[in-house]
Homo-oligomer: 394 residues x 2
């Protein structure tokens, strides 16, 4: 890790010798890796001391990390994750709360908290995270970074700790879109469903209605800019049913899988957990078949609905989250409420498995706000290319 | 660690190959080691996730642990410690609260919580702990074990994390005095100040007065038994000044040294800490020269006073603590109050550096109570020999 880490972004493991290619497309860049990914010579802590103790020193490096090393990028270190990646606050009771480089009085967001903190403080050029329910997009929104939740399954999570495998994705952060795109060139194969040069921009009114009026106002100039580049946005409704139905479908699926992932750990080792994570896992344990089965059916219908809405050229433009990050001084209840409200818009990409790219194009009250592009499955690189065009337009 | 750890006594590190001598005086015994001691192949966690992360895998084994291995004892695993060893409750917010095998509804005590839990549950035969202000004696009292705080400096703490070096000692636990003595034969050289066959038993009335009347009543038969073996106890006053003066001298010295030990960690890494430990360390930071200097002078005077009282044949017989362990369900405030009351009697051995052996000779309300022998510096093995005579008398 960097000798100086004012952001408390890195887990202070002793540096292991992690070789990288001498030259490659990422030469000159250094990167952080969320402490869910195995890296030979390091343990994998997963944001929990008992998981860290159980880990031992890994002898293999996760293929996605290896790819970055093979492309010439240098490892800066492993970054703090929210506990078991099952939180969006960026406050880990065991490993601390990494600082938000764009808004120091506000939470970084999580669970890829340390990765966002490290990039937003300039301690590395880019950083890997994971996104199950918003764990890349939320910190990207809060810390003023580009952050992608890729198409589900598109970037390998082999050698990384699971949360809810049918929802888990591997994303990353960068401060600028050029760096972001360089990483995409390494991590993503060519799009399986590239967008045409002229996309059909869609403005989902129901998603925009979730945002605070102040956030909508703050995002308006960015929306205008996007429209200037990509063409006028057509107003649509994104929801199949209600946000509430989608929210619960997401939570049942996530809960069911999270309990399958972490239940054995809890039952065998009784690890002390932060109160909110414990509560969420205890709730996860209660999810029944009669909740889960309809949720998976809803997911299928929602995915088909969104695929139909987007076709092969549609791109939703919408707020990444309903507002700027809560203050660090806010109560736990306020942050939890924020989390619940955020999940409504964040779980569209989660449930559908479609890619969503958050762009740091606005601020409100001095804090960043992200505008997102959400495209059809397999359009990840096209979305990044759109972001490059938008960035170039300023 | 044992495959089955119902006591949550062990930190679940992957087992390393730790060789031990095929035969020796401890053949057939297995032991736990508090997670403050380095063991090659394991990290040293010190009860804090950031300390664990910083540790890496150790390549050397602490000499005291090596001595046990060389004597034929087999390592069972590393045991949970209270955070930074700076607590006596046995409740670590990161690694859990090991269970008390003698009184499951009561705290194990700490900071050598996992070691006492493991021995009291029969998961190993003996276990190493450390005792700065009572971290062996308190869990011995609570879990119904033999536990020694040796003469300061007599058992090496090389390769172990410090708390307050001028007070830190390395002790151990066993369920029976025979096993306890076998370990003593390995860890202790012959006494530098052996007690004569006929000791002068002293009953410090002021220490006894600290105990609850119920505890005094419960200890009375044990005291009678000790007197039957060692002769009538002569009533004395143990204090030089007041318990309050001794308590503050101890706390200022401990605080000053604890801040020297852990301050750099706190200032550099801001590790999240359990609330009580944090509060204690924040207080430690405030200890000034004008508090510390008189405290060290008081320590000198108290040591000289106690040395004069004991001579070369005196042994104090007294309650190890003022009562049985608090309930696990008790409030944190109640446990903290218990800690403060306990410190008054516990810090006599701490300040003087003299050895104190707690013997599990009584119970009250179904929970263990320890009776202690405190002798002059260098009389450790003689105290254990007295305990063997007492145990044989029943």
């Amino acid at each position: 890790m960097p000798l100086y880490d004012p952001a408390h972004a890195f887990v202070p493991y002793p540096d292991a010798a992690v070789p990288h290619a001498a030259t490659g497309p990422l030469t000159g860049l250094c990167f952080g890796v969320k402490d869910l990914f195995d890296i030979a010579g390091y343990p994998t802590g997963g944001g929990n001391p008992i998981v860290l103790a159980l880990s031992g020193i890994k002898t293999r490096t996760a293929p996605t990390v290896q790819r970055l090393l093979d492309a010439g990028a240098r490892l800066a270190g492993k970054t703090v994750t929210d506990e078991l990646a099952f939180s969006m606050t960026g406050n880990n009771v065991h490993f601390g709360a990494p600082l938000n480089g764009a808004a120091p009085d506000r939470i970084s967001g999580g669970s890829s908290s340390g990765s966002a903190a490290a990039v937003s403080h300039g301690l590395c050029d880019f950083a890997l995270g994971t996104d199950t329910g918003g764990s890349v997009r939320a910190p990207a929104n809060h810390c003023g970074l580009y952050g992608l939740r890729p198409t589900h399954g598109r970037v390998s999570l082999e050698g990384a700790l699971d949360l809810a495998p049918s929802l888990d994705t591997c994303g990353w952060f960068a401060r600028d879109v050029q760096t972001f795109a360089r990483v995409a060139d390494v991590l993503l194969q060519p799009d399986t469903a590239p967008l045409p040069p002229q996309v059909r921009l869609l403005r989902p009114l129901d998603v925009w209605a979730l945002s605070s009026p102040a956030a909508v106002a703050a995002l308006e100039p960015a929306l205008q800019r996007v429209q200037a580049v990509l063409g006028q946005a057509q107003p649509v409704q994104a929801q199949l049913d209600s946000f509430e139905a989608m929210y619960w479908a997401f939570r049942y699926i996530q809960g069911r899988e999270a309990w399958m992932t972490d239940g054995p750990l809890l039952e065998r080792y009784h690890p002390p957990l932060g109160a909110a994570v414990r509560q969420r896992l205890e709730w996860s344990r209660t999810v029944t078949d009669t909740q889960w089965v309809p949720a998976t059916a809803f997911r299928q219908r929602f995915r088909a609905h969104l695929a139909a809405l987007l076709g092969n050229d549609g791109v939703l433009v919408m707020p990444t989250m309903h507002d700027i990050a809560p203050l660090r001084a806010d109560s736990e209840e306020a942050v939890e409420d924020y989390r619940n409200r955020s999940t409504e818009s964040l779980c569209m990409a989660g449930l559908s498995g479609f890619p969503q790219l958050s762009m740091p194009l606005a601020t409100r009250a001095g804090a960043p706000l992200g505008l997102s592009l959400l495209g059809p499955a397999g359009s990840d690189r096209s979305l990044i290319a759109l972001a490059e065009r938008i960035a170039a337009s300023s």
